[in-house]
Subunit: 346 residues, 2 copies
């Protein structure tokens, strides 16, 4: 994997990853970063940090294709975030970040606050505006798994970073504001609540290894030599899917070559089953759960996919019990969801 590092005029980093080296000349660049005073406030009843990023109100919202900021920069068009005529995978610092490397002083508030130290990156999967994880080539998906691994390694080198999470939001119904195939990476200055609880569970038992050992095939969507995709028997969303490497390991940075291949292949397979389920692009949030700092010895890396789609024409909304109590109600039984995804021919 080759990496070319470019510093944008406004100071943000742009990283061009590729199977081939990147040598195209830099083109004109657009206007600068969003600014703002991102900061964290402590919620004393829930016992968690919330991130405030008021400048995000102004972020780019579903622009027409010709103004897509994730496309390569084209002659006679406005400059995009990527001042090159082509690329394989591009990673750059978010223009409207919730966490920044060097936050300005936070405002005075009535809540205990701390600076929002961290990093928010955008990962552009391809220079082509259309497509998905399913339509990318297997080579490109493998490159993306290697890019995640590289970003994990570099971001965990930052002393204040406690947890790094690559994720992808897909579909307007989960709030996507840009359609160009891309994901994001958040590097947090604390271990978020969900990861605290997962870490505690893994410290007590190899929960996912035990789950896979005893799992009834009815929960399996698809598998290959090194990874398996299941609907967990305790899914919180309809059609929730987890991709789990069969070998316990803290993150993709410890993958052997065959594991990179296997994970990349099953990732494409899951997305293509999703799209076949109701005959159209399936909205989802994909998150990668790797070990928070210090949890490497017990944490079992995996990807979780959540979707609000509960049938072809109905959505699951989070409301009173989910938002107010933290208890989810689920309409679609995990064993039925797994069967539907298993039987889907994409």
């Amino acid at each position: 994997m080759h990496l070319r590092t470019h510093r944008k005029l406004d100071g943000r980093r742009l990283l061009l990853y590729g199977r081939a080296g990147h040598t195209l000349p830099a083109l004109q660049e657009g206007s600068g970063a969003g600014g703002g005073r991102p900061h964290l406030r402590w919620h004393p009843l829930r016992g968690e940090w919330t991130a405030y990023a008021p400048h995000r109100q102004d972020r780019t919202f579903l622009p027409p294709t010709e103004f897509c900021p994730l496309c390569p920069t084209r002659p006679q068009r406005a400059p995009t975030e990527i001042p090159f005529s082509d690329f394989e995978v591009a990673v750059f610092e978010n223009r409207f970040p919730a966490f920044v490397r060097d936050p300005l002083e936070a405002p005075d508030t009535a809540a205990p606050i701390q600076p929002a130290v961290g990093v928010c990156e955008v990962v552009v999967y391809t220079s082509r505006h259309e497509g998905s994880a399913a339509s990318l080539s297997q080579d490109r998906r493998e490159l993306l798994v290697r890019v995640w691994s590289e970003r994990y390694r570099e971001l965990y080198r930052l002393e204040r970073v406690q947890f790094v999470m690559p994720f992808e939001n897909r579909g307007e119904i989960v709030g996507v504001t840009l359609h160009h195939p891309h994901g994001q990476i958040y590097a947090y200055p604390f271990v978020p609540p969900v990861l605290q609880r997962e870490s505690e569970a893994f410290r007590k038992a190899p929960v996912l290894r035990d789950l896979l050992r005893d799992l009834d095939p009815t929960y399996v969507v698809t598998e290959n030599e090194a990874s398996i995709a299941i609907v967990p028997p305790f899914a919180r969303f309809p059609y929730e899917v987890w991709i789990i490497p069969k070998r316990v390991q803290p993150g993709p940075w410890t993958f052997e070559t065959g594991e990179v291949t296997a994970f990349a292949r099953i990732w494409g397979d899951v997305v293509s089953r999703y799209d076949a389920l109701f005959g159209r692009p399936f909205p989802y949030v994909m998150v990668l759960h790797a070990a928070p700092r210090g949890e490497e010895s017990s944490f079992h890396f995996h990807a979780e996919f959540y979707s609000p789609q509960r049938s072809a024409d109905r959505l699951k909304y989070l409301a009173g019990t989910e938002l107010g109590a933290g208890t989810f109600t689920v309409d679609v039984l995990p064993e039925d969801a797994a069967r539907a995804l298993r039987d889907t021919r994409s």
Copy 2:
């Protein structure tokens, strides 16, 4: 307050509460309860129960007004859930419940399960199909506060119930399937995660009393003699509002008469400010957080309102960081939200 108890033909309870006694004759009733095998499964990584209620997939979805199941039963119309020609406040057991008093045996699954013992009730605020907490009379809102108190008392009498939560979902964007003004009550056989954390916080310190004592007026939306509405300085949603009784108490069942009046008035005031904010009905989830069983000595009752509306034409979606990490990012600063709601003239 008067109560008339009616047993529906399918065995479900219907409770008619009123300032006047209810003496109208019972009319024809419709078909029965939804059935299904609701049950709970344990999520070993998050350490929480999830409720499975597959029969809910078939629940009534945005019916035309003339088929509203929450209206009184009318001559020459299909029977509704309430077989009477009029009522003040009606409470009945949900036809598609996530929790039931006597659950059938749960199915075999790969996850540890337990029966979904509990109660799910629907609270119909008025016999009129149109309206909101803001347009109800102050008398009716006070009656509703007394109904909640009565339901708390009765549901906490059930031995297996650990937590009772009245709530209201309003607006299609939070998943409302019936527009008739109504709320719901869930009685859980466990203390849900959010309430576990709140209870822990209150056991350590009177968090809300301390917050109110030191609170900068910039966070206050409105207040009266016994209650205050604030945007908490650590809000997780844009325009989140909490209504807090000034006196620490575990739930509305310990309200004195003046506190019932004050809470009912500020509830209407908050909803009418919400509706004035963008000049149309504001979508929200309102939850009441009273003491779980055993936490009565330290818990400070309050109501929380969450809304996805982050501006007149933009919604906040829960995506990667919220769903996958449990960390919220917020675009609207609480102090700005409080000012906007304070300055609103409804």
